[in-house]
Structures are given as C-alpha cells and as structure tokens.
Point group: C2
Chain length 311, copies 2
C-alpha cells in the first residue's frame, strides 16, 4: 500500500499544501486562503477539510498517510507548542494536538523558517548534508539550524532567529525587534537598500544607481556591472553577514550554509563578499563550510513540513 505524507506551510495570506510520496516525490500541491478573521479560528478546520477532500479525490485512505507536517509563521518549540503567531491571530496553542484531533492523523509542527531549512536539507541546496544552516535573506533575515539531521527548535521556538544576531554595537537606528544593530538591518533586502541609500547620500557619490528606484536587485545588478558604489555596499553586506555566519559556526559548526530568500536571487555573486569576512572571523576548528543557493523556492516549506513528520 502506497504511503503518503502531507506538508502544510501556513502563511499570512495563503496556506500551501503538498502531497508527497514517502520518498519525497511531490504528487500534488495547491493553496487555500488563510482566513485570519476571528483570531484565525478557521485556519485549522480549513486545512483539515482540504486534506480530507484531497484524500477523497485521490482515493487514499487515512491508513496510507504517515502524517501531516505543518510550518507556522511564529515560534514553535520542540514539543509542537506554538508560542503565538501574530499574523494568524493565534495565541499559544498545542498544534500537534489541535490539528491532530480535527483530522485524526499524526501532526507535527515547527516554525516556517525552520521547516524551510529542513526542506532544503532534504531535497534542495543542502541535500546530502546533515549539519546545515539555512539563511533566508528576504524582507528580513531568518534561518533554520539543523544539527545531525535534527531541527533545532530551541526552548521557546527561537532557534535559528539569526536575523537578530547583533553585529554592530554602534548602530543608532532601530531594528523592527527594538534592538539596534541586528544582522537583518544590513543583510536583508531592506538592509541592502538602506546601505545603498546611505552610500548614495554622500556628497559627490557616483553610481549607476543614482536616480534609480533602489532595490536589492538593482544593487546586485549594479555589482554585476562593476559599479564601484554598489560593490562597497556588497562589501558591507558581506562584512556583517560573513561575521555573523562565523559566529554561528562557532556555536553549531555546520557543514553547509544554504542561502534563500529574495536577496539570494542575485546568485553566487554574493558568495565572495560573504566568504571574505567569514574566513577572517571563523574559528580554525570550523573552517571549510560550503556555501550553496537554496533550490526549492517557495516550496521549501511544504517539503520541510513533509520531512518533519517522516522524521
């Protein structure tokens, strides 16, 4: 009898769901809206109904389902307790029980950035490795830490919150988190734009970016075109990110860093800028970590959620 698994990635506007063979082959994927009204009370029932409907459509029995893995946009500890999810309107909730009871299947939940890391380890840029740190360079900076094949959720679900490593004690501008000098302020898309605008504001600054609508993509395109000001921005981006990754290496010593998120669409051109400062700061016992690009894009979450429940 064929064994299958569901991977669910709950976002603020849509829920992505994937149906996988136990080997990791994606059989089907689809989305449903995330109904966040009334403290998101319909989110889990909607997921349960969608999964029931898919089982019926595919003529699959519940005995064939290994389980349902779920990624949540908020902190989730290693017991599957969600410590609040602001974008869904949720407070503290034992998700494994709550959805498990609705659907009569084994459920395992983890944080969305963490399951994306697990997905990349399983079928993406970190395939074949078991000590992996995923670095998501999007609007903010997130991440996921996998040690010896196991996701590090952390006591309160705060494992892999690497965007809030403080990398500059002299910063005077606040991060969204309330502190000053977080990695996210320099190496996210927003951070890259901020660094570029600061550089452009210097009197006499010359750059192809001048007068453009400055985006992270525009900055990296300018780097590719050999623009000196853009290169100086990339160097600062690399300093903060490379130093932070060296700190992470001294804690968990990964074999590979996998870079995802919008900024990473720039591609491998980022790597020498990061590597330069990583090598300067990394402990000699932790050298040799590889850098790779994420491969699963927006599907990383459903892959990782499926892997979470397969174990």
């Amino acid at each position: 009898m064929e064994q299958v698994v569901f991977g669910v990635d709950i976002g603020g506007t849509t829920v992505k769901i994937g149906l996988f063979e136990a080997t990791g082959t994606l059989m089907d994927k689809w989305e449903i809206p995330t109904r966040t009204e009334e403290d998101g009370k319909e989110v889990l029932p909607d997921i349960a109904k969608s999964i029931e409907a898919k089982l019926s459509e595919k003529s699959l029995s519940k005995e064939q389902v290994i389980g349902v893995g779920v990624g949540i946009p908020g902190p989730v500890d290693s017991e599957g307790i969600v410590h609040g999810a602001v974008n869904l309107g949720w407070g503290k909730i034992d998700l494994d029980d709550a959805l498990g009871n609705l659907i009569g299947l084994k459920v395992k939940a983890a944080n969305d950035a963490n399951i994306a890391a697990l997905g990349e380890m399983w079928k993406g840029g970190g395939q074949g490795y078991k000590d992996v740190v995923a670095v998501t360079l999007g609007t903010g900076v997130g991440g996921g830490v996998i040690a010896n094949g196991q996701l590090i959720a952390g006591f309160g679900g705060g494992g892999g919150e690497i965007g809030h490593l403080i990398v500059n004690h002299h910063e005077t501008v606040s991060c969204n988190c309330g502190h000053c000098g977080c990695l996210e302020q320099y190496s996210s898309a927003t951070g890259v734009v901020r660094l570029a605008k600061e550089a452009l504001a210097v009197e006499g600054a010359e750059s192809v970016l001048k007068g453009q609508d400055v985006t992270a993509k525009a900055v990296w395109d300018a780097v590719k075109a050999g623009d000196c000001l853009a290169e100086s921005v990339a160097d600062k981006f690399g300093f903060y990110l490379g130093s932070a990754l060296a700190s992470i290496a001294a804690v968990v010593n990964p074999e590979i860093f996998v870079f995802g998120g919008g900024v990473s669409n720039a591609g491998e051109i980022m790597f020498p800028y990061i590597q330069k400062y990583y090598d300067k700061a990394v402990f000699r016992g932790c050298v040799g970590a590889k850098f790779a690009l994420a491969q699963l894009g927006n599907d990383a979450g459903i892959y990782g959620a499926a892997k979470l429940v397969i174990g």
Copy 2:
C-alpha cells in the same frame, strides 16, 4: 543484573574514570596518568586495562556494562571521529572503533567541553533542562551546546567553540587562535586579568588591586569589596560575555546557561554584569533564559561521558 556504565575523561596529564550505575549514581572514580609519549599510543590500551581491572575488582561481567563514554581534548564529530588531539599526540582517529575493539564494549566519544556540558545537564547545574548551553570560563573559554537533550558536535567537531565568537572587531591583540577580538580574550581568567591590567595602567588609576598579583579571583574579590575599578572590569567582562550569549541564544535558544570553570568560582556575583548586556541584545523570542552555576566541578566530564553512552 545490575547495569553499569564507565565515563572516561582524557586530559593532557591524567585520565579520569568513573564507574556509574545506569541511574547516574557514581560508584567509584579514579585516575590514571596520560602517557602521551610516542604519539599517545598507550593512552587507549591503558584505559582498556584499567577498566578490565575495575571489572575484575568489582566482580562485574562485560554483559553488565552498557558501554564506555569518552571525553577527548580535541574536536570529535557526531560519528565519534576525533579530528586530532594535540595534547595527546593524536591525529585523526575513529575512537569508537579503536577503543571498542580493544575492550570489547560499546564506546562513544565526544569533545571534553561538550561532555562536561552533558554532565551538567544530567546531574549538575542544568539538571531538568534539555536545551542547555554550558559556558566554561577557565584559562580559555569553552562550551557545549545541548538542544532537545542532544549534544551538538558539529560537522568537524567544532560545536560549542564559543570562546572564539568574535565580539570585538576593533581588537588589535591576537587571540591564541590567530584571530583578534574573540570572547576568550575578555571573559576567560586570562582575559579578566588583561582587562584589569589595562585599567590599572591608566594614569591615576586607584584600586585595591594596585600592587597586588592580579588574578581573576583577586578581581572578583575586589568587585565584592565594592572596588570601582574592579567593577568597571566586571562591566566589560559582562558586556562581551552577555552580548555573545545573546548571539548564541538567537542560534539555539537555550532555556539555561550553566557557567563553570575557574572564573565561575566567583559565584552569582557575575550574573548581573552578564545579564545587563544579555538583556540589551537578546531577541525578544529568546528572552527568559536562566543563568546557573555548574555543580560537578572536575567530575562533569566523567558524568557526561557516562550519559553520552547511556543516551
């Protein structure tokens, strides 16, 4: 039939060995010299002979032995491969196999600082917790990271090398590791002495430490006596250590930090100095970690080694 386990902690001059009941009660402990001559080729045979002799002395059969856990002064990965141990004269060696073949028992090895962390989680200052970071403030700064009850060895055995987190990019003095600005340069016994000597060298500096032989203990004694210069040293110590622990929290989000090593003999008087800067830097999702003192002293290694093999 009573089940027992051996915990072995290999140091540069002595090997500590403990015989434990499976519940963790220490039945006996003793030491043998570490014979490092000829590339330390007798170290493992000596351990095997000592364990055989103890089994005979206690009339225990090998069937009663769950296994032998071993702590090594060098990097050990999660497969038990030692990536060199300079103080023993060892190169790369598969310790689980090498000692296992000599003694005919299940063997599991890990880094010595990592097993000390495991020991403190099992029977010491971290008892009852499963997300623990041990911070050893000795001549250097070492550590061990435990997530969900599992030791994080890291790809090359460099997990928990927290003494080499770079906390000061402006430092011009080199750390033993070759980089500049490592945590170890400020928060080890050596680091505290260095900070104190720098403060004392300022013209007009007044302190009870003046003219004394400055040791880490003398500095903390002076802090306890309300010495203003010593308090400024403690504040710097706390800034670097507290900020580094906040970085560690954003990676693995521990529930408790357990402080051991000679500097920690100062006791809880250290905590407010560390807490002040930890709270300033820690991500809001990782707040609330406890601080505690290590309790097992030099026995942490044998306890942790025993726990490693019990699992």
